[in-house]
């Protein structure tokens, strides 16, 4: 079963009065797009529909990749993958949506962020024994390396991930 992944690239151009140069940052976050039975959600870049703010303007381009399974996505990733297991009506999971966008942008070179709707993909959720939501699993070399539950702020999540990435396997 072919699966296409949409990797969204977000270009942030900051224009601020305090600096004369403009800087751009690439943020990649992916979702698996499975036909019919298997679908993983895409992090929606809410800035697509919002008005440009005075200081930052976001554009989103997307890139499609094809994988035959979640395992293949993990295998083919050149970076550690942070997987967010969530559900639509889970409050803390929705709370994490903008936080994950921020984290994804900050750690663009270090990790790939993927979100999995546990109601759409119960078998994947079962495989990784997901119970409380949200559960975050950081995969290194295709294997679960670190795992934590619950909502938290962006700085805290970034710190947690960076500390984890520094640990030798």
């Amino acid at each position: 079963m072919a699966i296409s992944v949409t990797a969204a690239a977000s270009f942030t151009v900051k224009t601020s009065s305090s600096s004369s140069s403009t800087s751009s940052k690439l943020a990649h976050f992916s979702s698996l797009q499975f036909p019919a039975e298997l679908r993983i959600s895409r992090l929606r870049n809410h800035c697509l529909k919002s008005k440009p703010r005075p200081r930052a303007l976001k554009l989103v381009a997307s890139k499609k990749q094809t994988f035959s399974s979640f395992d293949e996505l993990l295998e083919k990733s050149d970076k550690p993958v942070l997987v967010d297991f969530y559900a639509t009506w889970c409050g803390p999971c929705q709370f994490m949506v903008p936080i994950l966008e921020k984290v994804s942008a900050s750690l663009i070179d270090k990790i790939q962020v993927v979100k999995i709707d546990t109601e759409k993909y119960p078998s994947i959720a079962n495989e990784y024994k997901i119970e409380a939501l949200p559960t975050f699993i950081l995969f290194k070399d295709g294997k679960p390396f670190d795992r934590f539950e619950g909502a938290m702020g962006a700085d805290q999540l970034i710190q947690r991930i960076e500390v984890s990435l520094q640990v030798e396997q």
């Binding site: 949409t6 979702s31 797009q33 499975f34 036909p35 019919a36 679908r39 993983i40 959600s41 895409r42 992090l43 929606r44 809410h46 297991f85 969530y86 559900a87 639509t88 009506w89 889970c90 409050g91 803390p92 999971c93 929705q94 709370f95 949506v97 903008p98 979100k115 709707d117 546990t118 759409k120 119960p122 959720a125 079962n126 997901i130 119970e131 409380a132 939501l133 559960t135 539950e149 619950g150 909502a151």
Partner: protein
């Protein structure tokens, strides 16, 4: 206060198999872009329950009422589909069996015994995310979950 964002997996899925279907009206409410909404009646019941239980347990709603709203709707949705307000912040192997069993029916055992609510619905005052309110109106619920 920013409204909560939701993933758009449903719309992506629909578009990949053909033209998007128009929103249809179901027993459980309007289905728009694939997100099933709970009935207004159940949301009202769970809203009232949440206010009452927060008072009773001396807990408070989240500073971000969007979180409170999403959970209330999640409880309502399970009440509609399973007959009981099963905790929406958990993954289950068999939802119907869990709803029958009762451990995770709101208020769940961890909440009743230790005031532990990982849904961030009922927060003890010492919790970083706890606000000062024990009330939430239907308007607030609707506003903060408008773009789901």
């Amino acid at each position: 206060m920013r409204t909560l964002q939701a993933s758009t997996s449903y719309s992506i899925g629909i578009s990949s198999v053909g033209p998007p279907a128009p929103p249809t009206r179901h027993r459980h409410g309007i289905v728009a872009q694939g997100v099933v909404e709970p009935t207004e009646k159940s949301v009202e019941i769970m809203r009232k329950f949440s206010e009452q239980y927060a008072r009773k347990s001396s807990t408070y709603f989240c500073v971000d009422k969007g979180v409170t709203s999403v959970v209330i709707k999640g409880l309502a949705e399970h009440k509609d589909t399973l007959g009981a307000p099963l905790c929406p912040c958990r993954h289950y192997d068999d939802k119907a069996a869990e709803a029958q069993q009762g451990f995770w029916n709101c208020p769940c055992v961890p909440m009743r015994e230790r005031k532990e609510c990982h849904c961030m619905l009922f927060l003890t005052p010492d919790n970083d995310f706890a606000g000062q309110e024990q009330t939430i109106s239907m308007e607030e619920i609707k506003e903060t979950t408008a773009n789901m």
